[in-house]
């Protein structure tokens, strides 16, 4: 049995009287793609936000097992500290640095782990120059990896939607994560882009990075995920391989009987992509 | 304003010059002080005083021009304002700077340029001890005024307790420092407090009333005092209110209305003048006629400062240079101004050292007399 990269146990998150997550537990094996699915409002993004330091849940623990490092509690850390641990994320509504170029976006990710301070930057010390070169090389490598090398110097906002998704993934990979959390990466993409994404997730997984995938698109989940966890009303209702999940009556019930009318298996819900809003807003999960 | 004023004054003072042709030389007397910003009004009072003096100066062996330079009363802008005047080679003397802070920042430049500056209003005590070689002032410094105000409170009003409030301006704080020294030596027990200029003084008025003092002594300008006096009246303050020259302005009466009644106002100005009250009255009248508003605080001092410069220039014949004017002005002795007779001592102090006490009576600021006589 392989080691876990992330263990979540009994996570409970409440907003006022509303229980968003209710004793959620899951185990993510190192190197595998784990998908979290569930109908709208099931608590997927809340879970995500707990894992990445945006929310602090009332109960439960989240433990990260870095490769070759000591186990670390994730909760109570700020988002940037979580990232430093080796957990990177993307956003459901793409949040790129819109006015910067693609390569700059990726470099920001890479450089967040570098050491150059303002003094070094102003004097361009040898280390600074070394780091600068390294981040340039790495940025182009990552852009090539996600298939955006040709668009390196384009402004992020001007990229097609699918490219923006992949750029966001490249930026997250720039921070050298051991665990990459993708929040509905397929939302709003067309079938061709979806196929590219499928390949990309497999490629990422092959490089040894574990992938935690929140997704609506069942087809994508079934094709890339090794294991699936199903959330409904903030609770884990099922967990297992995609095949097991598909046959689980509770899951079918949740998707079909829970008022969620259409077949979440094929069509992603037509989500309005709201404009960027400030951080203090509660998520419309 | 410079260009406008220049033509205006040029035509009035040069009524004779245009006929006498190019034989006469033209010299410029300048004014430096705030013409914009929050203290603009005080500066404009003085600006007008100088303009009036120049307009009335006829029959001279030279022509006079006027320029002014706005320093906003701000020490940060004062050096540039002073430099502007120094650069103008026609300028042979400056009335100003008006404010103490601006003066401290400008004087090194005037001293270097040997350009005399006669301040009508910078009363900060130490200005004449800072080593400036071309600074004189026609007003008495705060040291004396503060001491005399305290004298008056102790002996004239026979107050046992007082509250000293100042507006935390360079002027007000300086004055109150000397008031406090005087009160201490006069045996008056007092509390003191600074006042952040605002509009609502009800809280501090309540505090002053609660302290049950015989007198409130204020260091600051009329705008704040007017509101403060109103608040004191509303809070039921029964003691005497004593303030200094910065508050002695008809605007005090106008703005505070009935609340200004009975306020004592000390000033190095306003005593019986050497030229008699007629001259002062004439000045008031001329000022009103020319500017369509009554002469304000320091208008008369500025008028005197300009006139004594002109008098000094007249004595020089054809040898009018900055250096010569500086020397001549510093040697001024017994100049009969509308405020008082002006003689500069070796420090450049042109005040008489006499402080006159006034009181608002029936909506008018009336002279009570020399503090030296009142507080015996």
């Amino acid at each position: 049995m392989s080691a876990a990269v992330l263990e979540v146990s009994d996570l409970t998150l409440r907003f006022g009287g509303l229980t968003s997550l209710d004793k959620v537990s899951l185990r993510h094996e190192r190197g595998e793609v784990l998908a979290v699915i569930g109908p709208n409002g099931a608590g997927k993004t809340s879970l995500f936000n707990c894992l990445t330091g945006v929310y602090t849940p009332q109960e439960g623990t989240v433990t990260f097992h870095p490769d070759g490092g000591t186990d670390t509690a994730v909760l109570g850390r700020k988002p940037f500290q979580v990232n430093k641990l080796g957990i990177a994320r993307t956003f459901q509504n793409i949040r790129l640095f819109n006015a910067l170029t693609a390569v700059e976006n990726v470099k920001i990710g890479i450089e967040s782990h570098q050491k150059t301070g303002p003094i070094g930057a102003m004097l361009r010390l040898p280390r600074t120059r070394r780091e600068e070169r390294a981040s340039d090389d790495e940025a182009f490598r990552l852009l090539e990896f996600v298939g955006l090398k040709a668009r390196a110097n384009q402004v992020a906002a001007s990229l097609p939607y699918g490219d923006q998704r992949r750029l966001e993934i490249a930026r997250a990979l720039g921070t050298k994560p051991q665990l990459l959390c993708l929040d509905e990466p397929a939302a709003g993409t067309n079938p061709a882009e979806k196929r590219q994404l499928e390949t990309l997730i497999r490629d990422i997984s092959e490089t040894g990075v574990s992938v935690l995938l929140i997704e609506h698109d069942m087809k994508l989940v079934m094709s890339v995920a090794a294991n699936v966890v199903v959330l409904n009303f903030g609770q884990v209702i099922a967990a297992g391989t995609p095949q097991q999940i598909q046959r689980d009556p509770k899951v079918v019930e949740a998707y079909l009987g829970g008022g969620e009318s259409d077949d979440a298996a094929t069509t992603p819900p037509a989500k309005k992509v709201p404009p960027r809003k400030t951080s203090l807003k509660k998520p419309e999960d | 304003m410079g260009a406008l004023a220049l033509t205006a004054c040029g035509s009035s003072s040069g009524g004779s010059s245009s006929s006498s042709g190019g034989g006469k030389k033209t010299y410029t007397i300048a004014y430096q002080g705030p013409l914009s910003g929050d203290n603009a009004q005080l500066g404009i009072n003085m600006d007008n005083g100088v303009k009036l003096a120049l307009a009335q100066a006829t029959g001279l062996p030279f022509n006079l021009k006027f320029v002014d330079s706005d320093d906003v009363g701000d020490p940060a802008q004062a050096p540039a304002a002073a430099r502007k005047l120094i650069d103008n080679t026609g300028v042979v003397a400056v009335v100003g700077p008006a404010f103490s802070g601006a003066t401290a920042a400008s004087e090194p430049l005037f001293s270097q340029a040997q350009l005399i500056s006669v301040s009508p209003s910078a009363t900060r005590a130490d200005l004449t001890d800072l080593g400036f070689t071309s600074f004189v002032r026609v007003v008495t410094g705060d040291t004396i005024q503060g001491a005399k105000m305290a004298d008056y409170v102790a002996k004239g009003l026979k107050a046992k307790t007082a509250y000293v409030v100042d507006d935390k301006s360079a002027y007000g704080a300086g004055l109150s420092k000397f008031i406090k020294q005087g009160l201490t030596s006069g045996g008056v027990t007092f509390k003191s407090e600074g006042l952040a200029p605002t509009k609502d003084y009800s809280a501090i008025a309540t505090k002053v009333v609660a302290a049950k003092v015989d007198a409130l002594v204020y260091g600051g300008y009329f705008a704040e005092l007017a509101l403060f006096a109103k608040a004191l009246k509303a809070a039921g303050f029964k003691g005497a209110i004593v303030s200094g020259d910065g508050s002695k302005d008809d605007q005090l009466v106008k703005q505070a209305g009935a609340a200004s009644e009975g306020i004592y106002l000390s000033c190095p100005c306003g005593g019986p003048t050497a030229t008699g009250d007629a001259a002062a009255a004439q000045f008031e009248k001329d000022y009103q006629a020319k500017f369509n508003t009554a002469a304000g605080t320091y208008s008369a001092e500025a008028f005197d400062a300009a006139n004594l410069i002109i008098a000094a220039m007249k004595g020089l014949g054809s040898n009018i240079t900055r250096a010569s004017v500086t020397d001549a002005v510093k040697k001024t002795s017994g100049f009969k101004g509308v405020t008082h007779t002006i003689t500069f001592d070796q420090h450049g102090e042109g005040g008489t050292g006499e402080i006159f006490m006034h009181q608002v009576k029936g909506g008018k600021i009336t002279l009570l007399g020399n503090v030296a006589d009142l507080a015996k």
Partner: protein
Amino acid sequence: MCFTQSFWQLTISGLALGSVYALIALGYTLVYGVLQLINFAHSEVFMLGGFGGLFLVRGLGIDNPSGVTSVLLVGGGMLAGALLGAATAFTLERVAYRPLRRRGAPRLAFLISAIGASFFLLNLAGKEFGRFNNPMPPLYTSGKVFSVFGAQVTTNQLVVAASALVMLIALDRIIAKTRLGMGIRSVAQDAEAASLMGVDIDKVITRTFVLGGLLGGAAGFLFGIQFGVQYNMGFSAGTKAFTAAVLGGIGNVRGAVMGGLVLGVAENLGVACVSSAWRDVIAFLILVLVLMLRPTGLLGERLGRSA
């Protein structure tokens, strides 16, 4: 304690001042609610409102008014102030804000154009109306009306507080009940969604400015009754009112009122306890402390939620 003997006196005068702060603060908060912008020039709306009221009262030139005449004078002055304030606010929106919105200017550009408008109006008023403080002609015989806990309440304080209260309640109702209020709330919550739902955002914004201008202008007159009207009266009052708005939670109507009152009282008690010289420091320290503990002000943000 330092203020035991005059606690109520200080509180009452603090409330009177605070209610004026509150009225001005509403102007900031309303505009902030819909535009998320500090309308820096609102202080000049307040100032011009003061002049509007002053000129009307002066123009009528009634000596020693009393009774009904007094009530009419106060009402008329307030109306004149409010109208001039509203006209100023309307013009401001048209000249200094709308063209920038059309161009999608950065947020700080709005700030600068508002600062420019403030400089412009302030100095123009000084040029046209003189730079002295103008006391308001007496509108009624002022004096003690009644006492509370040994503290006297003056006519001035009563008039100011009562007028402010009436306007605050009116505004609260307008926001809660009217179509305009609904429009304002919807734009405050989500401008994009509101416009998709057929709300004319431009119209709502204009009317918000006008509403804030009405209150600010009337506040100028009320302030003028107590302290006179002067060309530069807006800056410090405006800064305080803005502080009050933030203190209460900017964008929050009731928060602005609460912030204004808290600030007015706190300043007065602070003067009694510490010194008048530290008055503004006290105000700002309270603000900093509140924001440290409650980063979005006493009552939290959001026009949409509060009303």
